[in-house]
């Protein structure tokens, strides 16, 4: 195989995504910018008028910002876990999804923590967290874990970008602006794909994969501990950390299926992202949904059985004010994948994606149910106070900033895949080289 020719063929195949922006893409980008601008106005209002523009009050001090924080971080940690596991699997199809997973991971871990900053009124005191940290506080552990994980994931993402950046740097036919060319040259750090460089890059990528897997588990466990180490009813649970990890992985897989579907459709990558990817991801989704169901049942059943007053109050709240939300969140996230993916005939790309979309919605509701009802049922009953202090309802400001987070995720994803191809070209070449080697070895064995 002529490597230089193959590289230029691949650059030619993927260059339209990097060079041109279609009208539809422009509309998409400007729509996202418009949502972000609305969010910027909401943020201005929140800073100018204070937290009273949100639904958060004395009792319910965490609202949908915290729900989004857990949701995005769960997605990020799950992505880190999956992309690192993919690195160890020797199969040609992993190449088509690996970059989607890596970008999802980094963007989620960048956007997630912004939501927790929105919960803080005295942002001017934020640096106290670093100046006077309490090592024994789970919040300090969480800050350290999130920062360490973010840097690790960015580093890992960068390592996987290097071979493609080198290919893009070396291709003369690529018509991209000068600054982009400069960036390719600068970021490719003189990588020439020599055997020594290849070996070094492979070695550090492998080590980083192991670190990222461990970090993802540790960081999400710590996030679960922020809740479970308190004595609040509904949070003080020994299975909270594995429960968080399973629901995080479930969210991550569901989001990856959705992103795969949108990219496949929009960038016409049917050749690279095939049905087999969706079926494999769908089966993982099914396994995770069952695990999620098992953990959810294990979480609530002992509470119902114990008859502890605080747990009974929480369950009463869940089954009165939040009845339908509780049913939709838990039944939707457990039963739907079971119904759709268990049957071979229903395993179509569209139905698997639909299942993923519903799972994302249900899992977001699940996080809402973990946080809000617990804060609405404290140990000391709330008495003689205004209704908005007892029941939390998110305001438009909170919704606007929530959608801004989603829009920022989509916008950054769109811009990143305009900078590097969404399917790693180096991965395609490596696979083809491996297959050629295998063929040659096979021929040699037969002829001998």
């Amino acid at each position: 195989m002529n490597l230089t020719r193959r590289k230029s063929e691949l650059v030619k195949e993927f260059s339209p995504m990097l060079e041109k922006t279609s009208t539809l893409s422009k509309i998409w980008i400007w729509s996202l910018v418009a949502i972000i601008l609305v969010g910027a106005y909401a943020l201005f209002l929140q800073i100018y008028e204070g937290q009273s523009v949100t639904g958060m009050r004395d009792n319910v001090v965490w609202g949908i910002y915290t729900v989004n924080f857990i949701f995005f971080l769960g997605m990020g940690y799950a992505g880190a876990f999956i992309s690192s596991v993919l690195h160890f699997i020797k199969t040609p199809w992993k190449n088509s999804v690996s970059r989607i997973v890596e970008i999802t991971t980094v963007l989620s871990i960048v956007i997630g923590p912004v939501f927790i900053l929105l919960c803080i009124y005295r942002l001017d005191r934020l640096h106290y967290l670093f100046m006077y940290p309490r090592i024994q506080s789970p919040i300090t552990w969480d800050v350290i874990a999130v920062i360490t994980d973010l840097i690790g994931c960015i580093l890992y993402l960068y390592l996987t970008f290097i071979p493609d950046l080198a290919i893009l740097r070396d291709s003369d036919n690529l018509k991209v602006p000068k600054w982009k060319k400069k960036m390719y040259r600068y970021l490719a750090i003189g990588y020439q794909n020599t055997d020594e460089q290849k070996e070094k890059l492979h070695k550090i990528t492998k080590t980083m994969s192991v670190i990222v897997i461990a970090l993802a588990i540790v960081a999400y466990t710590i996030l679960a501990w922020v809740f479970s180490l308190t004595l609040q009813p509904g949070w003080n649970s020994t299975i909270f950390a594995p429960y968080f990890i399973v629901s995080g992985l479930y969210t991550g897989v569901a989001v990856i299926i959705l992103v795969m579907y949108l990219i496949r459709k929009h960038l016409k990558l049917e050749k690279h992202i095939r049905k087999v990817h969706f079926i494999f991801a769908g089966v993982i989704l099914l396994i995770l949904s069952l695990l999620f169901g098992y953990f959810t049942f294990s979480e609530y059943f002992p509470k119902w059985f114990s008859h502890k007053a605080s747990d009974t109050n929480l369950l009463n709240t869940l089954f009165s004010n939040y009845f339908w939300m509780f049913i939709i969140a838990n039944y939707g996230a457990v039963l739907l994948p079971l119904i759709i993916i268990s049957f071979k005939k229903l395993r179509t790309i569209k139905l698997i994606t639909l299942t993923a979309v519903i799972a994302i919605f249900c899992l977001w509701l699940n996080r809402y149910l973990i946080i809000i009802p617990t804060l609405e049922t404290p140990y000391l009953p709330i008495q003689d106070t205004r209704p908005e202090y007892v029941h939390y309802t998110a305001t438009w400001v909170e919704w606007a900033l929530t959608f801004t987070g989603v829009a920022a995720f989509c916008l950054l994803f769109t811009l990143l895949i305009k900078f590097v191809p969404v399917i790693p070209m180096s991965g395609i070449i490596d696979n083809e080289t491996d297959q050629n080697k295998k063929k040659r070895r096979f021929k040699k064995t037969i002829t001998e």
Binding site: R134, I135, Q136, S137, W141, I144, T148, I151, G152, L155, L159, I162, I189, G190, Y191, Q192, T194, E196, Q197, K200, L201, K203, I204, T207, M208, I211, L215, V218, S320, N321, Y322, F323, W324, M325, K350, T353, L354, V357, I358, F361, W364, Y368, I372, Q383, D384, H391, T393, A394, W399
Partner: protein, 302 residues
């Protein structure tokens, strides 16, 4: 035309998110399913003022455990004698379904020939709930509480009597009296006894802890009595002991410094991870160096 529902499911799911009102699932209440409980009671307090209290609660006819307080209902309290009615005050029920007023000690009540004060609490009714009223008749009881040390014995002396219109004291013949002390959250009962001929004596224990000054608040209470309703009297006295806690409860996570093992584990974990980052970055520099060499060699060859 075949309609493709999957084409728009993203938009549909977003609409579902926006349109869901999360608190909109609460069940609707219908007052006709509830039987109203309207309980009226009176408590004569330590300063001889009188508390009048109504508890207004709806109880589900099918599920008796389902009780819902009636809030914001206006309750009027009257003192009546034959046709004469004196309004003592009005109050609205709270979120717990309780309406109460305190009638001062100076209030002159209408008293019937048997020496009874007749009190009525009334709710006039609304569109959803019928009118309710409850009546109680009680005698005005004077409860005296004296705390004395008699021959170094701490003694609680209780006297209970009524006074008629000409000022003659009549001791209470038989009534239950409870001696309690004030705890942190509620009263702790020490003794429940019969008052005979209007007097009762109780030897106070020596081993009861008080506050940091050794003070204890002692109550004498007559509760739910058919003739007198609820009456209590209280006094604070320096009869308690103060036991200073010798051993403090230890929770190392709330101490100023974290336990040593935590520093060690965190340092090992962080050093391990960050050393790996440094190792990775050092390799990136090596790759860069090699890349430079290759480029220079290529230039020289040209």
């Amino acid at each position: 035309m075949k309609y493709n529902i999957f084409k728009h499911y993203l938009i549909t799911s977003l609409i579902i998110v926006i349109t869901f009102s999360f608190n909109g699932f609460a069940q609707e209440l219908d007052a006709s399913n509830y039987k109203m409980r309207f309980n009226f009671k009176t408590v004569k307090q330590a300063d001889n003022s009188r508390l009048l209290e109504v508890e207004f609660i709806g109880q589900n006819k099918k599920d008796r455990k389902d009780k819902i307080p009636v809030a914001d209902a206006e309750i009027s309290f009257y003192n009546i004698l034959n046709e004469e009615e004196v309004l003592l005050g009005t109050a609205k029920t709270s979120y717990e379904g309780i309406a109460k007023i305190t009638v001062p000690n100076s209030q002159k009540y209408l008293i019937d020939d048997d020496g009874l004060i007749n009190l009525i609490a009334k709710f006039e009714g609304s569109d959803a709930i019928d009118a309710e009223e409850d009546e109680i008749s009680i005698k005005d009881l004077i409860l005296e509480l004296n705390l004395e040390e008699i021959d170094s014995v701490k003694t609680v002396l209780v006297k209970a009597f009524t006074i008629d219109s000409v000022g003659v004291k009549t001791p209470v013949e038989e009534a239950d009296v409870i001696i309690s002390i004030q705890g942190m959250l509620s009263k702790m009962k020490l003794k429940e006894e019969y008052i005979e001929d209007g007097e009762y004596e109780f030897e106070f224990p020596n081993d009861i802890p008080g506050n940091e000054n050794g003070e204890i608040t002692i109550f004498s209470i007559i509760e739910d009595n058919d003739d007198f309703g609820n009456v209590f009297q209280k006094k604070t006295v320096n009869w308690g002991t103060f036991n200073k806690q010798v051993k403090e409860e230890g929770n190392k996570l709330w101490s100023e410094a974290a336990p040593m093992w935590m520093y060690i584990v965190l340092t090992i974990l962080l050093l391990g991870v960050w050393a790996n980052y440094a190792y990775t970055i050092s390799y990136l520099f090596k790759i860069k160096k090699e890349g430079k060499k290759i480029t220079e060699n290529k230039k020289q060859e040209i």
